[in-house]
């Protein structure tokens, strides 16, 4: 009877191997599950910290930059005299290239009704230089602002723009709140 209760050496090794495999599988599964469910982080600009220095156009590893101007239409005044669209010393308020502030003509000025105009950013043309953002912030409502567009961003471990940003406006944010769009994102928002 005593002999029957004793496990043989072979059984012991077999059980130990099974347990090890089970534990390993569990650990790998757990790590994978944690990895899948963990919050991811991406780089984004805080528009209220941005000083529109223009470095986003030249410092991004992407060409053109993954930083683009976006327009918070709910903040825009739809003005004829738009500080983001027209050069301060523009000859007249027109769509002539010489009067436009944007170096790549990435802003389309559309007539709505007298005297209102809509300004739409062409993302493919925008290089993220922030000239329009500076003009809009200095002379207008501040509806134009920069954001990192994630379908274009490589999400580098160390963002080359963040490293150089003089106002430290670029930081990691949760991927579930990947954009800090003015209007819904306010100065006092906690990311």
């Amino acid at each position: 009877m005593e002999n029957n209760n004793k496990k043989s050496r072979r059984d012991f090794i077999r059980s130990g191997t099974r347990l090890s495999i089970l534990l390993t599988l569990g650990a790998v599964g757990g790590i994978a599950a944690k990895h899948l469910t963990a919050e991811k982080y991406v780089w984004q600009i805080d528009p209220f910290k941005c000083t529109q220095c223009g470095r986003c156009a030249t410092s991004c590893v992407m060409t053109p930059s993954a930083v683009k101007c976006i327009h918070a239409f709910n903040l825009c005044g739809y003005c004829d005299l738009c500080g983001g669209y027209l050069k301060p010393d523009a000859n007249k308020r027109s769509t002539a290239a010489e009067d436009q502030l944007c170096p790549t003509a990435a802003i389309a000025r559309k007539f709505i009704e007298e005297p209102y105009f809509e300004y739409v950013i062409n993302e493919d043309l925008c290089i993220g230089c922030a000239k329009c953002v500076k003009g809009c912030t200095s002379f207008g409502n501040g509806s134009l602002h920069l954001q990192i567009i994630h379908k274009r961003c490589l999400n580098c471990n160390e963002c080359s723009i963040a490293r150089l940003c003089p106002s430290q406006a670029i930081s990691r944010v949760k991927a579930s709140k990947a954009y800090n769009v003015k209007g819904s994102f306010t100065k006092d928002s906690k990311v």
């Binding site: 529109q52 220095c53 223009g54 470095r55 156009a57 030249t58 825009c76 005044g77 739809y78 003005c79 004829d80 005299l81 738009c82 500080g83 301060p88 010393d89 502030l101 170096p103 007298e114 005297p115 290089i127 230089c129 922030a130 000239k131 500076k134 003009g135 912030t137 200095s138 002379f139 207008g140 409502n141 501040g142 490293r163 150089l164 940003c165 003089p166």
Partner: protein
């Protein structure tokens, strides 16, 4: 000999690597970067020829508001609103009275007998000693009250949300509206891109209203008929720039306009005809991208500017 060569080579290599790393590290610092071809410098527009500055800042009064929003002057008292309160302050800075509200005021106007405190969608009328007399709540949801003035028993209320001026009797009965339209094609009506829509009476009793989207000041009869207007739309110091300026204005005793601009913050003075006279306060006096200061003028023509960013009342007197 062979070992010496290898050591020499390794030393040279190490020096080169250290030099490359050091140069790269320094070159990558923001202040060591070459000039940015895309930088847009607006500083030249904020520089003012000192010969144009006709006023000097004589004193500042610290105020106990976290978000001051409006100011008025009547008699020898300053009326300041913000947060959820109104303070009556002597020009010396002494606090005379404080009245609390359950919401944040947007503007204030003190007449000879009453104080009108504007909120986003309502008006509270107080006696001059701060006792509540009435509440006017019959405004629409899209109303944004930005300025109040009174003349001959009619209260004029600037509604930036509806882009009209509402008229009321003292007992709160509606007396009509001013839409700012005229037969003149150049005048479109009130264009209010953001909640800055100011109105005031000059010393001759004429109603003047800012049309900020047009960079103009317009004079209306109390019936709402356009009498005259002047416009100054320019990035230069003589004009108003941006989408909605002037944000606030007031009158000197001689009828000259004092204007306050948002964006590139500056306070300027214009003759009663609308011709540019000079500068009261240059942009360098204010916080960059801050709030346009509301204005109040005392009986001597001294200008009180409500600096919401520095949270103080700044007094400017003629040089």
């Amino acid at each position: 000999m062979k070992n010496k060569g290898i050591v020499f080579f390794l030393i040279i290599l190490a020096v080169v690597i250290v030099a490359v790393v050091a140069i790269d590290f320094n070159a990558s610092k923001p202040d060591k970067q070459p000039a940015n071809p895309y930088a847009f410098n607006v500083d030249p527009f904020s520089r003012i020829d000192t010969a144009l500055i006709l006023f000097k800042e004589s004193r500042d009064l610290a105020i106990s508001f976290s978000e001051p929003t409006g100011i008025s002057f009547r008699g020898d008292e300053l009326f300041v609103v913000g947060d959820q309160k109104m303070q009556i302050i002597e020009p010396t800075g002494k606090l005379m009275n404080e009245v609390s509200f359950d919401q944040k005021p947007t503007c204030v106007y003190a007449s000879a007998e009453k104080i009108f405190v504007g909120f986003r969608k309502s008006i509270t009328i107080l006696s001059r000693d701060g006792v509540k007399i009435a509440d006017w709540n019959s405004f629409s949801d899209s109303t944004v009250i930005t300025s109040i003035a009174e003349k001959s028993g009619i209260v004029f209320v600037a509604d930036a949300g509806k882009r009209i001026i509402r008229k009321f009797s003292f007992d709160g009965k509606a007396q009509g509206e001013i839409e700012g339209k005229s037969g003149n094609d150049q005048i479109h009506g009130f264009i209010i891109p953001s909640p800055y829509f100011d109105l005031a009476f000059n010393t001759d009793g004429e109603l003047w209203v800012v049309n900020p989207g047009k960079h103009s000041l317009e004079n209306y009869t109390v019936d709402g008929k356009l009498r005259t207007w002047w416009q100054a739309s320019s990035i230069k110091i003589e004009g108003f720039s941006g989408c909605c300026n002037p944000a606030h204005f007031a009158f000197l005793p001689d009828g000259s306009f004092i204007t306050s601009e948002k964006g590139l913050i500056r306070i300027k003075t214009y003759k009663p005809s609308g011709e540019f006279s000079g500068v009261v306060a240059a942009p360098s006096k204010f916080t960059e991208n801050g709030h346009a200061p509301d204005l109040a003028i005392d009986n001597q023509g001294n200008i009180y500017a409500l600096d919401a960013d520095k949270k103080m009342l700044r007094l400017f007197v003629k040089k």
